[in-house]
């Protein structure tokens, strides 16, 4: 794995009994922010990791707190940028360049890696206390009661969000209930849209090829738009509209919510395009199925779904989605060869 260089953020080194520790700036530079946006939009497909190890911020001494995070650069940056006027040691675990929550779920950000890192970095020689502050979302991978037995360090679970860390520390390492809650507000959902959109856009060439095949040999832009427009509407519905409107759409199943936004956009298409009744019917099935499937796929980006729940939803929804898509596509193809449209 290639690590993102941190030379631009390194102010110097602190010499400790365990060796020289890089002193890191808390302010992000333009290149950090630009690289973050490129990663979010999946441009360049680069690794986005920093070298695991021990870092310092502020002017830490052996009594300063130890904050633990993952070596995903987003995790590292979103931690350090919050440490205004705080002196601390940052223990960056090797999570394979994955964020804390996903890596904890997989176990790569877990008890073993934490204990290994404490020993490898000789943390006990750097600090005089035996307390670690972990992000709360590390808990699926880290067993606090095992860490203290194996390393002598006590794990304190800090807030979910790094932005709450200063308040957490100022309150004597106590989290309020709000700090312990994972949010999924409109702003959080908006941030997931680029990732979802870029994933589906990988299939764009195949979709366009299918539409061109359908219209051969008469490739007229005006008639082809009658298919391009509703397909774009279905993708927009499942990857943008449904996530943004999530709390207000009826029902609990994600695919069902996707059907609602799909039907709304289908009506809009019908108003705007010169569809026959049969064409409208075909597209109702296709838009509904595509939007429902993409909405179902959004379970992975959400913070409110369980494995048992998604399995149940897929058992119920997938047969309907596949049937609707198949019937809709067959109907659309038949219409092409009967009406020539």
């Amino acid at each position: 794995m290639n690590y993102q260089p941190l030379t631009h953020a390194t102010r110097g080194f602190l010499f400790t009994p365990a060796g020289a520790i890089p002193l890191i700036d808390i302010g992000l530079q333009k290149k950090d922010i630009r690289a973050g946006w490129m990663k979010r939009w999946n441009i360049g497909r680069m690794d986005y990791a920093v070298a695991p190890g021990l870092y310092a911020v502020g002017n830490p001494d052996p009594t300063s707190p130890v904050l633990v995070t993952a070596n995903y650069k987003f995790s590292f940056d979103s931690l350090r940028r919050e440490l205004e006027a705080i002196s601390a040691w940052l223990l960056v675990l090797d999570s394979g360049g994955i964020n804390v929550w996903c890596a904890a779920g997989k176990g790569t950000f877990g008890t073993d890696e934490l204990v290994r890192s404490i020993e490898a970095m000789r943390l006990a020689e750097v600090v005089s206390h035996r307390v670690l502050i972990l992000p709360q979302l590390a808990a699926p991978g880290v067993a606090a009661h095992e860490v203290i037995l194996r390393s002598g360090f006590r794990v304190l679970y800090g807030p979910v969000r790094a932005s709450d860390l200063p308040a957490f520390m100022a309150a004597g390492n106590r989290a309020t209930p709000a700090m312990r809650r994972v949010r999924f507000a409109a702003a959080d959902r908006l941030l997931t849209v680029p990732v979802e959109l870029m994933q589906i856009l990988r299939y764009l060439p195949y979709l366009l090829a299918a539409i061109i095949l359908l219209h051969l040999p008469r490739l007229r832009v005006t008639t082809m738009l009658n298919d391009v427009f509703p397909l774009a509407a279905a993708i927009f519905s499942g990857t943008v509209l449904m996530p943004l409107l999530l709390p207000w759409l009826p029902g609990r199943a994600f695919s069902g919510k996707g059907v609602w936004t799909g039907l709304a956009l289908w009506l809009l298409c019908w108003l705007l395009l010169p569809w026959s009744l049969a064409e409208a019917l075909a597209w109702m099935l296709i838009i509904g199925a595509v939007s429902a499937f993409l909405a179902l796929n959004y379970t992975g980006a959400s913070t409110i779904t369980s494995l048992s729940g998604v399995k149940k939803e897929m058992r119920l929804a997938m047969p309907a989605i596949i049937t609707a898509a198949a019937v809709g596509i067959i109907l659309r193809v038949i219409l092409r060869f009967t009406l020539g449209g």
Binding site: M1, K106, L137, L191, P247, R252, G300, A301, S306, G309
Partner: protein, 98 residues
Amino acid sequence: MGLRYLANVVSLELNKSRCNGCGMCLAVCPHEVFALENGKANIVDRDACIECGACQRNCPFTAVTVNPGVGCAAAIIQGALQGTAPSCGCSPDGGCCK
């Protein structure tokens, strides 16, 4: 926030006879599923549970059990195709749960 996924579906179980009320499950749960009542943990919002497994992992008395996993349709499809457990494609070169 009234965001709840499907009702009555999660695998979360709490064995109260093992619980000593340390409160660790309350501290690690990201959806306030537990509350302390009369010195013991209690499940107060079962449908909010996302089966992340934090409570089970951090219960020193093995009072909490859950079948942990990712609530992710793509992971379930991928797992089914490869014959493995559902796993999000959290590889550095593959997108996933941001």
